[in-house]
């Protein structure tokens, strides 16, 4: 409902037998609010209020508003229609076997709604009288956030501590560190080993896989690359010297080696 449709500020609506009721239309918040204001003119509590009288007052107000061509919002007119119906019901005896609530029930419901609104008005008025932060009472102007809990608690585990110590001591020790020699299989070492293995192989005169050899005497997996490289170089050297045959079926296929010396030579 748009309150600003009301384009005039005040009007006087004279009630039968009542002093002039000065109505500030802008001040009303809908038909129930208007009804409550009208009810106040009866100066009785809402249990004893005459709903019939109230309905008549309301209808008179709406009539007056129309007379001066006040554009009334739709819900005021809906309420007027409902009150006109209620008024007729209240004036006539209830028809027998009427469906729905009786006229007095309807009147009691309306009185009840007015009473609830009145209560909330009082509750709102009470809220308005309370001391409010920033109005009547003030909180600290420059609050400082508190620590989450008590004095600072630092998170650090023993592991953090030891890791920091180890890393730090190590860092400083590096200034006079001797690197352990890298473990590589030298060419000479590889050939030496290869020749010793070939001796056994020669007895059979058969092909054997080079990497098979190497794996047999290299336990540490980290050493395999250097063993393979040095071992292959040693193989090539031995081929050049006519000591062994080497064959590979295709790229990256296993390398096979065979001694060229036969058993008789060996025995000689």
């Amino acid at each position: 409902m748009v309150q600003s449709q009301f384009t005039f500020d005040a009007d006087a609506v004279r009630q039968a037998g009542e002093p002039a009721l000065v109505v500030d239309v802008d001040g009303f918040e809908g038909p129930l609010d208007l009804l409550l204001a009208l009810a106040r003119t009866q100066k009785v509590d809402l249990h004893r209020i005459s709903i019939l009288q109230l309905a008549e007052q309301y209808l008179l107000f709406v009539e007056e508003a129309r007379r001066i061509r006040l554009e009334l919002a739709a819900d005021y007119l809906v309420m007027a229609a409902w009150l006109a119906y209620l008024k007729s019901r209240l004036l006539l005896p209830d028809p027998p076997k009427e469906e729905g609530p009786s006229a007095s029930d309807l009147a009691a419901d309306l009185a009840e709604r007015l009473r609830r609104l009145e209560q909330i008005r009082a509750a709102a008025a009470h809220l308005a009288t309370r001391d409010r932060i920033g109005h009547e009472v003030f909180a600290r102007g420059a609050p400082e956030p508190l620590q989450a809990a008590g004095p600072v608690v630092y998170e650090a585990t023993l592991y953090d501590l030891l890791a920091a110590y180890g890393a730090q001591r190590q860092k400083m020790a590096l200034s006079h560190v001797r690197f352990a020699p890298r473990n590589v299989i030298s060419l000479a070492e590889a050939r030496d080993r290869l020749e010793r293995l070939m001796g056994r192989l020669a007895l059979h005169g058969e092909w054997a896989r080079l990497d098979g050899f190497l794996l047999n005497w290299i336990a540490d997996p980290k050493m395999r690359a250097t063993a393979l490289a040095s071992g292959f170089s040693a193989t090539l050297e031995m081929v050049r010297e006519g000591l062994i045959d080497v064959q590979q079926e295709e790229s990256f296929a296993p390398i096979w080696i065979r001694s060229r010396r036969d058993a008789s030579e060996e025995g000689a």
């Binding site: 129930l32 609010d33 809402l46 249990h47 009082a122 509750a123 709102a124 920033g134 009472v137």
Partner: protein
């Protein structure tokens, strides 16, 4: 009893010094007043106790501090079940002189707030029924943005309307220790129109802001809770 005595109601035996100098202030009291002063916001007893030395009696210290500050320019008060320091109400008009005039709540917003406070959980339709007028969206937005009102859940009824309730901020702002500290609706007889007799058919709600959902309430969808507290649209005090 002197104010001085009131300030230190529980001198630990042996800590009292001779009267030639001011006795040292109880360390627990100092710590307590410092944390309440610094925080500026209400602190609950658990939070306070966690920052006090082991074995300190938070409740006793709070009681002592409350008495200590009773006659000062700011007092220790209980709001929303927590404790906070705030200026004395009688000085409000003197202090407010220097502060910018706070916005006044519109009548519609104040009534809506009162309805939510007393009848929570309450839907918008129920608010409108009580007020007898449709509620401008801006009205609820003002209350949501101020942090006084929150979306509680959804009523298990056709259309699953959102239910509204009040917040802790509401209690703090209005200086209420609990929502039940609001006077009963029947006690409020602003204009004398409300009958003092308790009406048989009418049950006046005892306000409750119990965060637990009621039987006829469902939880909000999570994404709805995230989009909580919308910005007020247009003139926040604009009205119906």
């Amino acid at each position: 009893m002197s104010a001085d005595a009131a300030r230190r109601p529980m001198p630990a035996p042996g800590t009292l010094q001779e009267a030639q100098s001011a006795p040292a202030r109880d360390p627990g009291l100092r710590l307590l007043e410092a944390m309440l002063f610094a925080a500026g916001e209400p602190l609950d007893e658990a939070t306070i106790a966690a920052r006090l030395p082991e074995g300190a009696d938070a409740r006793a210290l709070l009681t002592a501090l409350s008495a200590d500050y009773a006659d000062r320019g700011f007092n220790l008060v209980r709001v929303a079940g927590k404790w906070m320091l705030r200026t004395a109400p009688d000085l409000g008009f003197l202090l407010a002189r220097d502060k910018p005039e706070p916005r006044r709540l519109s009548r519609a917003a104040l009534e809506t707030l009162a309805i939510i406070a007393y009848h929570q959980p309450v839907t918008r339709a129920e608010i409108e029924e009580i007020r007898g007028v449709s509620t401008n969206k801006g009205t609820l937005d003002v209350l949501l943005a101020a942090g006084w009102v929150r979306l509680r859940g959804r009523r298990r009824s056709p259309g699953r309307p959102v239910t509204y309730g009040t917040t802790e901020t509401f209690l703090v702002h209005y200086g209420l220790d609990a929502i039940q500290d609001l006077p009963g609706l029947d006690e409020l007889r602003g204009t004398g129109l409300i009958d003092s007799r308790v009406s048989a058919g009418l049950t006046v709600p005892l306000p409750s802001d119990d965060p637990g959902l009621k039987d006829d309430e469902d939880p909000l969808e999570p994404e709805f809770e995230l989009s909580f507290a919308p910005e007020p649209e247009g003139d926040p005090d604009g009205e119906d």
